[in-house]
Symmetry: C2
Subunit: 439 residues, 2 copies
């Protein structure tokens, strides 16, 4: 049986998972591939910590050149994360004709085009299934299984930490900061959680999905990104009462020549499958013109689920090596010469429904003033809840609007927040219950 030699750079949590799968599922992998995967070198700055795996000591190295200069190694796995030195290592590996597997979403979101070009120029493959949705095979599904479809929309719960916090707030009613601290304590959130809770990690993943769905070199900076740290128990409670759940969603919709791409907390109907995606799970709700609505669900992060995706990619590279081919499927789903720039719609130009929570003084006429200003900007109200209860000296008023243009909503809220009868900034959460959620 032919041996295919693999080098791993980055022996952290996921790297350890990869080694474990290649070892424990060796027979299964061979039966599926018809060849053996041999992990020849592992490179990490730390080669002394015990990862709970027995390895031939000679495998470990702190010098990445030991992998890159080894002509026998045909697949390099990059699992160090971040931009540098990951980027340089990947580019050097490709220049040496090695295939690359990575789960590095930040790198792909920021430098995707450069990596695609290098893979194409060097005629190697780069697999990145682990970069979005952990073990969920969403990238392969977009590139192959659903390749016949025009993608109408993608809605994704793509960050386990944010979803864990929102789930806990929904189930138990705690405050954001308290639950975040608890999540940090339990290892479900990083010491610096900003990438996760401010939506940046989700936006990285959305950038990758958008590129694959629409064949575009998306400009990451153009993705409107808003996190979940402003969500209060009051918002959770009243959205529940209104028949919704709050999720941090990555949203993209394709329209002629333009795309929407945004990340923000979103109200979705409590009956919808996406609202049942709880805890650290991820899901992608994708609608295609032929296939209609689909949902892909699974663990979006963690050692073994992400390693499952990484080893899947190694196996794909091995199949291609066995057949002597590369670039069977283009890296970003479209032929390199068919990739095109597409304008991402400005957030001010989107139209959607809104949940608004006003903080009003408890005096007559406030509702009339608020609704008057909304009306002036063409924003019509579909439902209102106002209860006597005071919160910090003000009375909350909850409102759902019909579809309105974001620019108008912003203008209206600016006026409303400046009224003497309102107290503090109005909370605004966009609603998704239109065509993109299917039947």
């Amino acid at each position: 049986m032919k041996n295919i030699y693999v080098g791993l750079v980055g022996f952290g949590t996921i790297g350890t998972g990869v080694v474990k799968i290649i070892d424990e599922n060796k027979d299964l992998i061979e039966k599926r591939l018809g060849c053996s995967l041999i992990l020849k070198r592992i490179c990490d700055l730390d080669i002394t910590t015990d990862r709970g795996i027995s390895l031939d000591k000679g495998i470990l190295t702190t010098r990445v050149d030991d992998l890159l200069n080894d002509p026998e190694i045909s697949i390099v796995i990059e699992l160090i994360g971040g931009i540098e030195p990951a980027k340089s290592i990947i580019l050097r590996a490709m220049e040496k004709g090695k295939h690359v597997v990575t789960a590095n979403k930040a790198l792909l979101a920021h430098h995707g085009p450069e990596l695609i070009d290098s893979a194409f120029r060097n005629q190697v493959d780069i697999g990145f299934e682990g970069s979005v949705g952990g073990g969920i095979p969403i990238i392969r599904s977009i590139k192959e299984g659903l390749a016949a479809n025009r993608i109408i929309s993608i809605l994704g719960i793509l960050n386990g930490t944010a979803n864990y916090i929102l789930t806990k707030m929904t189930d138990g009613g705690g405050k954001f900061q308290e639950i975040l601290r608890e999540a940090q304590h339990n290892g479900f959130a990083e010491a610096d959680p900003s990438l996760d809770i401010e939506g940046i990690d989700t936006a990285h993943k959305l950038a990758i999905l958008v590129s694959l769905c629409y064949g575009t070199k998306v400009n990451f900076e153009a993705i409107y990104t808003e996190g979940i740290s402003r969500i209060t128990p009051l918002d959770i409670e009243y959205t529940k009462e209104l028949g919704y759940r709050i999720k941090l969603l990555a949203i993209s919709k394709g329209t002629d020549g333009e795309i929407e791409a945004r990340v923000h907390p979103t109200l979705i109907p409590a009956g919808h499958l996406l609202s049942k995606v709880d805890g650290t799970f991820n899901a992608i709700f994708l609608t295609g013109d032929a296939v209609g609505s689909t949902l892909f669900y699974g663990r979006g992060a963690g050692k073994m689920p992400t390693a499952s995706a990484v080893v899947g990619d190694i196996m794909e590279a091995a199949r291609n090596i066995m057949r002597g081919i590369t670039q069977r499927v283009p890296t970003f789903s479209y032929q390199t010469d068919a990739l095109q720039a597409m304008k991402v719609k400005d957030i001010n130009d989107i139209s959607t429904r809104y949940y608004l929570r006003f903080s009003a003084q408890d005096q007559p006429g406030v509702l009339s003033k608020i609704s008057g200003i909304l009306g002036k900007y063409g924003i019509s109200i579909s439902s209102v809840i106002q209860k006597g209860r005071q919160v910090l000296g003000a009375v909350p008023i909850f409102m759902l609007t019909h579809e309105a243009k974001e620019a108008n909503v912003r203008k209206a809220l600016k006026e409303i927040d400046a009224l003497p009868v309102t107290a503090g900034e109005t909370m605004i959460i966009r609603i998704e219950d239109q065509f993109s959620l299917g039947e």
Copy 2:
């Protein structure tokens, strides 16, 4: 741009969908493939009915040899269904070195090994993504995205008609026969619905999934198959009260050297994602040793969703033709020489929890007699509901058991049903709320 010529056999609903996608998404397909798909011939016994698509008349033929003998045609799509003449056409196409795409689940379930062997011998590919779960890319996900995993279990809602009927019964409380008639009237059920409601169609699909997951030539006849026609509104109502939903599930679990493979109505917890899969939708809940729990959801049948899968397969064949390769991924996921026979566990040997509905005479001591017999066979009860209400002169008693062996349950029920104080056969529905449903 290179042209790849395709021939279609079977110009029915799905065939029409395939022609529509190849026509309407031509530019998208070319941008993804880097080549053109040209539909050169369409063969059907009926070439006069208007399918609402404008076609060059010269394309249509009633002679399948016009496709099979055309050396320019490299991909043959079989969409006539059933065993013959589909099987002979596919085998002849493969012998002529043509790749095949089909959605024919009955053929694959009954003659899978023969088709695999022929594809391998002739070094061509056979795509069958459309045969399970309609547009859901589950087959590709098992063969590639999740290829690094040992599959621990699969639970599938794989038949839209059966799921539609159960959903309607759950939502509105009607009787099976009434809802079936309504479904037939609305086009959601066939005039002869037995394949769908008796679980046979689901079993065909399960046979395919089991083969892919475990690399085995599964014996279709060994799959225990039970349909939904015995489910009554009473079962629906009380399972709801007990916190469950009834779904027709395809279940497979891999244990050492043996597999479970069965199709039957199943109670699943109302909070589980699978219980939210309603109407004609399908879903596959798959657990792998590395990836953990995953769910794949979408339209399991119908013109465009199935055509989405078929065109995805045509595109895969085209990519392989462009690279001059075949059999990149083995047809049934394992290398042909690694496929092995595996014993399907006899239904009597499975252990699970059970929902039992007894029809008892309304007199003292009945419950004691029933529970006595259950106890004798080592079956312990986890909950009981007995309400005064009489149904056809008898009182229903609802019971959930702890895990028990099927053989013991059957013996116990045989004794119980023979008691003078019971009236009619006990209803038995298996419960799935163990490890296979994940967290």
